[in-house]
Symmetry: C2
Subunit: 338 residues, 2 copies
Amino acid sequence: MRIIVDAFGGDNAPLEVIKGAAEAVAAYGHTVVLAGNEAIIRQTAKENELSLDGMEILDCEDVISMHDAPRSILREHKNCSMAVGLKALAAGDGDAFVSAGSTGALLVGGTFLVKRIKGVSRAALAAIMPTNKGPVMLVDAGANVECRPEMLHRFGQMGSIYMTDVMGGGTPARVGLLNIGTEDEKGSDLQHATFELLKNDNLNFVGNIEARQVPFGEADVVVADGFSGNVLLKTMEGTADLIVQKLKAMFKTNLFTKLAYLLIKPQMGAFKKLLSTDEYGGAPLLGLKKPVIKTHGNAKANAVKNAIRVAAEFAAADVIGKIEAVVATEAEDEGEAE
Amino acid sequence: MRIIVDAFGGDNAPLEVIKGAAEAVAAYGHTVVLAGNEAIIRQTAKENELSLDGMEILDCEDVISMHDAPRSILREHKNCSMAVGLKALAAGDGDAFVSAGSTGALLVGGTFLVKRIKGVSRAALAAIMPTNKGPVMLVDAGANVECRPEMLHRFGQMGSIYMTDVMGGGTPARVGLLNIGTEDEKGSDLQHATFELLKNDNLNFVGNIEARQVPFGEADVVVADGFSGNVLLKTMEGTADLIVQKLKAMFKTNLFTKLAYLLIKPQMGAFKKLLSTDEYGGAPLLGLKKPVIKTHGNAKANAVKNAIRVAAEFAAADVIGKIEAVVATEAEDEGEAE
């Protein structure tokens, strides 16, 4: 597989990105195409004794930052590393694309440079979160603040294909609809109409799911509008961060608590893994014609390495071909939104 | 103060409710009026050697359950303990009302039996959650799944009064608007319009707040529609529950981890307190003509005791008089929604 990577996306670019890419090349044998300033990439690799074997570079000067307007990826920053990488992906010069850069810019760039699958009116950001029973996909996690039932239905279909074929080893993913109660009549018109569409589709639909069930892994795909999906994602992150911060402080209180930490340390690895999203590599953008993975803005080498692995799995599982097959028979009667 | 308590609301009624009431009478000197079947209350008190001193009983046979339709509190269950208690409150036979029963029934009962403050179009469920910097009020936490900007503005005003005067000792509460980013332009039309209303009001408005900042206490009042507010509340609860469950299992792994627990135990109290909502007593219903507190369905004696304390503070702070004063000058031009 050839994976294109935005070498200048995220808080720790380019060093951690190059490091993660080198680890991925060594571990999985993929070819990595780094998009970004070649001189800086070579200099960074040299200074940090990182091998660029198995990598190619798409040289470009510009970088789009978190502070730039997302749409500037089509204009002022049309030659930034993210745009150059996405254009190479669209042109067929790679199987998938990974970036830790601005989510908004990646969505705009993905939609207009890579383009959407015919019949998909909006691309979705599909965050993957840890739960008690393995990963859960939250779709949409913030790309579309206002949604219609047909959009949520599509998110459920796409999420189901991804979680079944990429993460689930073929076991049909359990699809749940985020709601404020499990009874069928809960929620607003949006949830009622979406419930009917999901129920009547050929999915492993488990009905409404409350936010408090999500961390316990009661669904593999949680369908939500981007506003409440983002609230769920960020609340899980914030709550876990606070608790971990408090635990760390607690173990540092005195000699007894430090000893307690040493005694519990062998178990801490599994505990930390439960709370970490690094292993999942990042959030796929669903609905585009090519695989795009958004990894966390603060991703370090390990997360980048995993994102490259997941991007390759995304491509290998032919998720996009399967989405195309599903929507071909029932193209949304909506025209193309922006 | 005279606090009316639904003796048959919640999973642990009537025993834990009576126990909590007895503790509240002893600790705070309030008079508690228990609504519910007198024979069962007396029998339960006798069997558990609980004193009913300082309590009165409003005898009634019926109970409304979690499975009954909320509206049945006005019809089939119009003489249930919750309805009888609310009617006594409306008639002036008490200063505040506490129930651990069905939230939906309490909202319907509160709205139609106690009635809303003139100028308030919807009552809100205002959950109070622990954070790193003390309690945060989340309003609305699930009563109103679809909201207009004027409703969210009102929630912010009411929440501000409550958190300033009941929980904040007079320090102006920091009011934040739940959004999917901190920039002014984030969110949908609902957030944009609400942002302007809150900004132009005489509040300590701190702008948009992301869900991940909420557990860190970056606002004292978080204004949200009932759908995303409920998602935030339930996600915090679910995430904390899962982590605590995992921690407990971790400490039980072997002799070393059990020893670790003993060493860390003195610090565990503060940690558990951080995650517990018991101390806050429950969620006020804001917008009604009298103070009503919804305590958790699984509330035990300590939570009931605290709910009675908070209900008395709610009444003593004249929150309702202050809300009336604010809305009197700018009554919402909406008519009465149900």
